[in-house]
């Protein structure tokens, strides 16, 4: 009696189960039938970088540039908008893997603009690559990032292998330095770039030093610079340390030329360094945002300020993904193929990626701090 009862129930359940599966499939195909052919309409593009914290100044330009691109796309496609997912890692390598995980777990994200810094990229990119999420960084310049075999990694600006020798050239040709001194911080970005610059300078280098992130007392470094009689100093690092370092160098009586890279190029540097920062030379694989009039106007109208560092690069990066979505790309693998084959003009350069994700075109610009702002001097490369 039990067995008959159980058999009947099992049979009923099996039939119900089959029916449900059938319903399920019809449901799915009807969904795809609706959106097949046109762009998918619930996709997201993510940003990862410092939105708060000491490095946030550099994150603002990038996240705004990307947001501008996405808003412009959404204005043109009001029925099929793309959502922008902003993720704050404070550009801290310790927080980066956790933030990366939450981006990966969001299945709607098909592309990532970022991570912002090289240090956090080293920590998070292995996870992002393994998850198959296409990334285009608009700011992380450490060369080794493209040498790890990460097929999902792309970089839309020049890396420090190019910037390093250009820095050396700026010291010798623009600053006319015969006794250059280099100072590095302890970040992966600063160490690599300063090393590359020091190597390119060779024997003319009169001294090197290394400082720690968060350090505020640079007396011994100042003493070293003064006693080496250096006439130019290159500081490879970020603006929170750079702005204090130059003040102490100046008040210690040093009046040579101060050269810094894109990690220092933030308006806080100008504010805090004050007169000590006047005349600082800045190298950057970023193009001057105010020179690209259309972009600058749109940026100013939306954010009520001038384009920040990496703004134009992030704009281009976001547009690569947006073009992919408009073209019908729906998932991460297809997006990566799309990015790999991308070959179009962006606002910063002609956007095309090499086999290991580097940009084919690498403009490097020289800026100078003058009259309280960064003035573009010339294109170095």
């Amino acid at each position: 009696m039990h067995t008959k009862h159980t058999l009947r129930t099992l049979a009923a359940l099996a039939a119900a189960g089959l029916a449900l599966t059938a319903c399920g499939t019809t449901g799915d195909s009807s969904d795809t039938a609706d959106s097949g052919g046109g762009p998918a309409c619930d996709l997201k593009i993510a940003f990862m970088g410092a939105l708060t914290g000491p490095a946030a100044g550099l994150g603002v330009g990038a996240v705004n540039g990307a947001e501008l691109a996405i808003d412009q796309y959404n204005d043109e496609h009001p029925d099929c908008k793309v959502t922008f997912s902003k993720n704050d890692s404070q550009s801290d390598p310790k927080q980066a893997p956790g933030v990366a995980k939450s981006i990966i777990d969001d299945a709607k994200v098909v592309g990532l603009v970022g991570p912002l810094f090289s240090g956090e990229s080293e920590a998070a990119d292995p996870l992002l690559n393994e998850a198959g999420l296409p990334m285009i960084t608009a700011s992380a310049t450490k060369p080794t990032l493209s040498e790890q075999g990460w097929t999902f990694f792309h970089r839309i600006l020049g890396n420090d292998e190019t910037q390093g020798p250009e820095v050396a050239k700026v010291l010798t040709d623009v600053a006319n330095s015969t006794k250059p001194f280099t100072i590095s911080d302890d970040s992966p970005y600063g160490q690599f770039l300063t090393g590359a610059a020091s190597d390119a300078l060779g024997d003319s280098l009169v001294g090197t030093d290394k400082i720690a992130t968060g350090q505020r007392d640079f007396e011994s470094t100042v003493t070293k610079v003064l006693s080496s009689k250096a006439d130019a100093v290159f500081f490879g690092g970020y603006y929170p340390e750079g702005e204090v370092l130059i003040k102490q160098l100046r008040s210690g009586g040093w009046d040579g030329t101060f050269v810094v890279p894109d990690g220092v190029k933030d308006k806080e540097y100008i504010e805090v360094a004050g007169p000590a920062g006047d005349g600082t030379l800045v190298t950057c694989p970023c193009v001057p945002g105010d020179k690209i009039t259309e972009f600058a106007k749109a940026y100013q109208a939306k954010f009520n300020e001038e384009p920040g560092t990496y703004g134009p690069e992030a704009y281009d990066a976001a547009n690569v993904f947006l073009d992919g979505i408009a073209d019908g790309v729906k998932d991460r693998a297809a997006m990566n193929d799309y990015v790999n084959g991308y070959d179009k003009d962006g606002i910063t350069k002609h956007v095309k990626f090499t086999e290991n994700g580097e940009s084919s075109e690498i403009p490097i610009w020289l800026y100078k701090v003058k009259g309280g702002e960064y003035v573009a001097v010339k294109q170095l490369a």
Partner: protein, 331 residues
């Protein structure tokens, strides 16, 4: 090892080391006094210092100090900043004592629990400063206070109201007015506190509680009052140190207390925890040793040198250089 560099620049390194060491010494005072009286390491003392730096900075900002301020006006602003820093730091120290420590001490909580409370208090205080933009937004004040709270986790600039005046040379180094001010004031303040603890009635009370809290209570010493005064003095000194710090380094940030607190605590232990003069000595020695270390081995080794020194001294003299504790110092 760059010995030649050290010898060539010995005066510069020594004097700048003494100046930084004075800041360490003033902050170390707070650690050492609280330890002497309560056998408690007040980890939140570093945040007491940090709030002082912000008080000084915000005061000068509020008074509209800029590079173009007249010298007389600048000196007045700086005096007010010093007073503000000392008052704010003192107040935070008192609040700390009341909120984070007294409830636990009253219940005879194990010292470890009180220690954990101090670590927690340190984080809370630091994060409040780091989140000040969110807090003022919550209260709706973020627009009017925007100059003080934007970019809450970034460096905050202390307005350049004075240019250090180069006074005279010792060896190769131009001693400037700010250096002398810091060094001189720090020594004066330390001497002041030392005399207060030795001669005044409250000072005797402090020493009594440090020596033996129960007997002190039996002799009529109000231990609550004594503890409050101890925290207050530590706070006032940290406030002064905070003022000198922003004067010299011209920037502050919500996390500036952390490393400085560790160094100051190291200085206190180096000189003998619980010993006031030890705090002064320890601070000055640490400041100079750091500089010598970075000259010999490179700036990146600065902290390593400082802590190695501590380890070495404790190996051979576990109670620190001057050894004796607060309660046992001679009258």
């Amino acid at each position: 090892m760059d010995v030649q560099f050290l010898i060539d620049n010995i005066f510069t390194l020594t004097i700048t080391g003494l100046v930084l060491g004075s800041v360490y010494a003033l902050v170390a005072l707070g650690y050492t006094m609280v330890y002497g009286v309560l056998q408690l390491i007040n980890f939140a003392h570093s945040e007491v210092f940090m709030y002082g730096t912000f008080a000084a900075t915000f005061t000068v900002m509020a008074l509209g100090g800029t590079r173009d301020t007249s010298t007389g006006g600048a000196i007045l602003m700086l005096l007010l900043a010093l007073v503000a820093a000392m008052l704010v730091s003192g107040a935070i120290a008192l609040v700390l004592e009341r909120v984070a420590y007294r409830p636990l001490l009253r219940r005879n909580a194990p010292k470890l629990v009180v220690l954990i409370s101090s670590i927690g208090a340190s984080f809370v205080l630091a994060e409040i400063m780091g989140l000040r933009d969110k807090i003022t937004k919550f209260v709706g004040l973020d627009d009017s206070l925007s100059a003080y709270v934007t970019r809450a986790r970034n460096n905050v600039q202390f307005p350049d109201v004075v240019d250090p005046v180069r006074l005279f040379k010792i060896g190769d180094y131009n001693v400037n007015s700010i250096d002398l001010l810091i060094l001189g004031s720090a020594i004066l303040m330390m001497v002041g506190v030392d005399q207060f603890v030795r001669r005044s009635r409250l000072g005797r009370g402090i020493r009594a509680v440090a020596q033996d809290p129960e007997s002190a209570a039996l002799m009529g010493v109000n231990s609550t009052r004594v503890i409050q005064v101890t925290f207050l003095i530590g706070g006032l000194m940290a406030g002064a140190a905070a003022f000198f710090f922003v004067l010299k380094y011209t920037v502050t940030r919500y996390d500036v207390g952390f490393i400085l607190g560790v160094k100051a605590f190291t200085a206190a232990v180096l000189g003998g925890i619980g010993n006031l003069r030890g705090a002064l000595l320890g601070g000055l020695i640490l400041g100079v040793a750091e500089n010598y270390g970075s000259a010999l081995f490179g700036t990146e080794w600065k902290d390593v040198v400082a802590f190695l020194l501590l380890v070495l001294i404790l190996l051979f003299r576990p109670t620190g250089l001057l050894g004796e504790a607060l309660g046992k110092s001679r009258a």
